[in-house]
Amino acid sequence: MIPAAFDYYRPNDLDGVISLLQEHGDDARVIAGGHSLIPLMKLRMAEVPHLIDLQSIEELTGIENGARIRIGAMTTQADIIDNASLASSAPILKEASLQIADPQVRYMGTVGGNVANGDPGNDMPGLMQCLDATFILRGPNGGREVKARDFYHAAYMTEREDDEVMVAVTFDAPKGGYAYEKQKRKIGDYATAAAAVIISKDGSKCKEASIAMTNLSDTPVFCGAASDCLIGTSVSAEDIKNAVNSMIDAIDPAEDNRGPVEFKKHAAAVVLSRAIERAWQRA
């Protein structure tokens, strides 16, 4: 499987990337780890006459830890898994990253590519919505910030303009318990259903909760109403059921080779129940 021919560029800074994007418009795409784009190019489902490799751009690398966490777009899943301080301040990232693809793919797959691509099967977008993360984009007119919860319009359709590059994701260090629960057919598959949950406790009651679902609509689904079902409760079996029912109303899965709609709703209910239980135990 050989893709259509392209010109290859490896600029050393973001200005170089942006000027190439401006020059070539729709004919140019950036490549990070390439594990979504290269298979599409090999199948000739994507044609990219001008391919701009981001691997040499220093500004896109690095993890800054603290009350506010910043992860450069070119940070790989393997980088996240290996970063001990991030694993202690935001352990949900490591838990989710370990469930993405396989070791070889995790060495290449990046946070920026995962969130910017707009593939509903990617795990990071739902996780970023759960964390209420902000995406930092850079374009010809400088930088701007977009909330993860406002970024996704439809499959592969996002708030990012063609001449903008995803630079980093930022979010407040999460408090309380967490869980990323994913059901997949086999290693390397996208989720049949996945749930990201963060819950904080005040005494024996739930103080704050945040729930987002993956691959159950053409965008990630932040479930505000389902999260509200848990707040102020003791997260009993009944409360979890209420949250799950609310989540089911918010998702809109489509039938595909991972199963019919009813099965996906069933899988979504199972992963969310498990995720809430685990997050609550850890809160």
Binding site: A5, G34, L51, A101, P103, Q104, V105
Partner: protein, 164 residues
């Protein structure tokens, strides 16, 4: 547009320079230009892992990388691990413990296992299975592959202890 570009690769300690279209897949460059046919082409979709090589210290699938992306990189392929007369500890362990049947997946298994043991020198069986999850084998049922890697790990660890 879309001409050839000069590519430099350091493979198994040897420098190579050639001209190629950027779209050429790394695995094809290794096999067809450098005649390093140990890295196999299996699924060609990034799932099976038979094309696994080490690139700048990472295990990667060379069917899912353009040769242009690898320009300037240092690689190790299975040819850099051992030779028929002088097998690498992992290769010897695979032979000893029947870690292969048809052998098609073996170069990828060896390359990934080598990197895994570098990262986790004393792994549990579960860590081996998780760390090898990107490599498929349709013959062995994996049991003997895991056994081979565990045996190689203990061999390498005792050699290290003896050296100290």
């Amino acid at each position: 547009m879309s001409g050839k570009m000069q590519i430099k690769l350091k493979v198994n300690g040897e420098d190579h320079e050639f001209s190629a279209e950027p779209r050429e897949l790394l695995v094809h460059a290794l096999r067809e230009r450098l005649n390093l046919t140990g890295s196999h082409v299996g699924c060609e979709t990034g799932h099976c892992g038979v094309c696994t090589v080490t690139l700048n210290g990472k295990s990667i699938k060379s069917c899912t990388m353009f040769v242009a992306q690898a320009d300037g990189a240092e690689l190790t392929t299975v040819e850099g691990m051992g030779s028929p007369d002088n097998l690498h500890v992992l290769q010897e362990a695979f032979r000893e413990h029947h870690g292969l049947q048809c052998g098609y997946c073996t170069p990828g298994m060896i390359m990934r296992a080598a990197k895994l043991l570098e990262e986790i020198p004393n792994p549990t069986e579960e860590q081996v299975r998780f760390g090898m999850a990107g490599n498929l084998c349709r013959c062995t049922g994996y049991q003997n592959i895991v056994k081979s890697i565990m045996a190689a790990a203990s061999e390498m660890n005792s050699a290290k202890e003896a050296a100290q």
